[in-house]
């Protein structure tokens, strides 16, 4: 495809598709950014927990008749609780070690989770249907927008903006941020810092679970669904500025669009373009687009 035969409708379609994927990236990046930004834990298990979210939704439907709408609330809670146990029993004992330890630990946990699920459910994946109320779509003139994709944008934006607002604009958020800066001092004011860390970790992980439920109807629910997307999401967090909540959200949306356009002009590069951006950003602005210089 040459650069001259750009079809304006086609391009608008690609932009919209990019935004849809971007909102998905934003949701996943948000969880990672919260966990890193507030807790300084590099959580490599986030992708596996996203996979777990999709599987819990699928298992719930198969064995308990739990429908999509219930799953949307129940699954993040279940996955969040698993995250809390993980923090309490695995991550806390090494909290004072170098970041590298939590990275290796969570990476190992991710491999164990993925391996266990492959062993139990095989590799080709499970199907999960789009709920009836979100089936179908609308013709926008330049493209057909499936209702479910519009729903993903809506949920992601609401959750992302909500989380950003809580962390940046409320007193709860200020405690969280203070806990990162100086946990000892905050504890002296009577705040239960370890509990706060556990809950924050649980919340960040719950976001992965939510993304898993959202993804289940459109991608195949399979054990390696998380490992594919995790690295991309990490790149997004790095581009946005490690730990910058707003940066992660905006970069997620932006990279979705960049990736979508690449798929249009030069699809072969679509899985690498985000990493090329990451390299450029690291060279020119090492703290990330929205990060503060250390």
């Amino acid at each position: 495809m040459s650069f001259l035969d750009i079809n304006i409708f086609g391009l608008m379609g690609q932009l919209l598709v990019g935004l849809i994927n971007g909102s998905f990236y934003a949701l996943l990046a948000l969880g990672l950014a919260i966990i890193f930004g507030l807790l300084r834990i590099i959580n490599f298990a986030q992708g596996a927990l996203y996979m777990l979210g999709a599987f819990v939704a699928w298992l719930g439907l198969q064995h308990l008749g739990m429908n999509y709408w219930v799953a949307l609330f129940v699954v993040p809670v279940v996955v969040g609780l698993i995250g809390i146990l993980m923090e309490r029993f695995f991550i806390r004992p090494i909290a004072n070690e170098d970041h590298l330890y939590s990275l290796l630990l969570t990476f190992g946990l991710a491999l164990i989770l993925q391996g266990t699920f492959t062993h139990m459910f095989g590799s080709s994946g499970m199907s999960y249907n789009i709920p009836d109320a979100l089936k179908g779509g609308n013709n926008l003139g330049f493209m057909y927008l499936p209702t479910y994709r519009a729903w993903i944008i809506l949920v992601s934006l609401v959750v992302c903006l909500g989380a950003w607002w809580v962390i940046e604009k409320t007193s709860l958020g200020s405690y969280l941020r203070a806990g990162t800066e100086n946990p000892a001092l905050l504890q002296a004011f009577g705040v239960n810092v370890p509990m706060m860390i556990t809950l924050t970790f649980g919340f960040g992980v719950a976001l992965a679970g939510l993304a898993g439920v959202l993804a289940a109807p459109i991608y195949s629910v399979s054990p390696d669904m998380g490992s594919n997307i995790l690295i991309v999401v990490f790149a997004i967090v790095v581009i946005g500025g490690m730990g910058s909540i707003g940066g992660a959200i905006l970069t997620g949306l932006g990279m979705g669009v960049v990736e979508g356009l690449t798929k249009y002009f030069y699809p072969e590069a679509s899985t690498t373009v985000i990493f090329m951006v990451m390299v450029l950003v690291l060279l020119l602005k090492p703290a990330g687009l929205f990060g503060k210089e250390a």
Partner: protein
Amino acid sequence: MKQVIKTLAAAVTLGSALMAAPSMAGGISDDKVRIGVLADMGGPYGDLCGRNCVAAVEMAVEDFGGKVLGKKIDVLSADDQNKPDFGSAKAREWLESEGVDAINGLVASSVVGAVSQVTRSNEKPTLISGAGSNTFTTKTCSPFNAHWSYDVVALANGTVKPLVDSGKKKWFFITADYSFGHALEKVATGVIESNGGKVVGAARAPLGTNDYSSFVLQAMSSGADVVALANAGKDFVNSLKGAVEFGLSEQATLAGLLVFASDTKAIDPSIIGNMRLTTGFYWDRDDQSREWAKRFVDRTGAVPTMAHAGAYSSTMHYLNAVKEAGTDEGKAVMSKMKELKPNDFFARNATLRSDGRMVHDMYQVRVKTDSERKNDHDLYEIEKVIPGDQAFGAQLPECDFK
């Protein structure tokens, strides 16, 4: 001290190399027939030929009686992780120091390419049950390859030609961007063009792409009659889901070029129902295939793919050839395999050509819709049997190994 260790190591290496040297002059080397199964045990191709390919080979060995010419038959297995270097290193270790006599399984085409060089230099039969590239019997053909279950030529002939003949002339490809996808696209393009059709565009999606919506939009704006999915496994599942979700299936026919039964089972019938595709095996064909499939399902719980059935069939044929040849020596067994006609629940009207292509009946099937399915494994209706000589490509003169 260092010197001592070095010397010791050299001695051990030399010793083991000597010990592993095959006893020539007929008979069974080291009093055992060992079959190594190399496959994807935990990765994306695991369901189509992984642990269950090992199970299929073990079933064949048990059905054969566990012994050939009075010697015990061993089955070894290893995970090739879909990495050519890994697979060929394992194959070398097996053949050169563990007395393995034949290798089966073999899923990722890239791994097979590397392994078949090792087996060629060691003169050991290579039973390719999972992979699809047609190069193993053309560009990189070897006297020791036996390409068993299917190949991209048979898939293209089976799926593409009937569509072009029915008047669907304009084609668009969504292709997995690696050797297998390219080979499939190239072969299919040949079939399209030689039957009066034309390719209006192609999008090369990187392996493991999660979201296909961009590619689907491109396919939609191309105005093609048929959108061919030249990919496999999870790429196929995700691209098909995207195509249906964005309404592509309403304006064009979707053609899956390589679909395993395990993929079909992983997709909701509302999405894949009524799709037509080509396969080398379907369990619910006749009493013989059903009998085998029932035993396979009882053992593994999985729906048998053409790779599983092929792994069983090729093992059985290999063991028959060892028995007839009176030896497990590679060259003698290969020529016996080519002389005998494979005939079992998988291989129908079959013959192993001198280029290593196992020619057998292929099947055009239609995927059943939800209301037609009686159970989880009730996936296809066989619409047409394609005789082997029409399904597979012609033999090249330079690949004539008697």
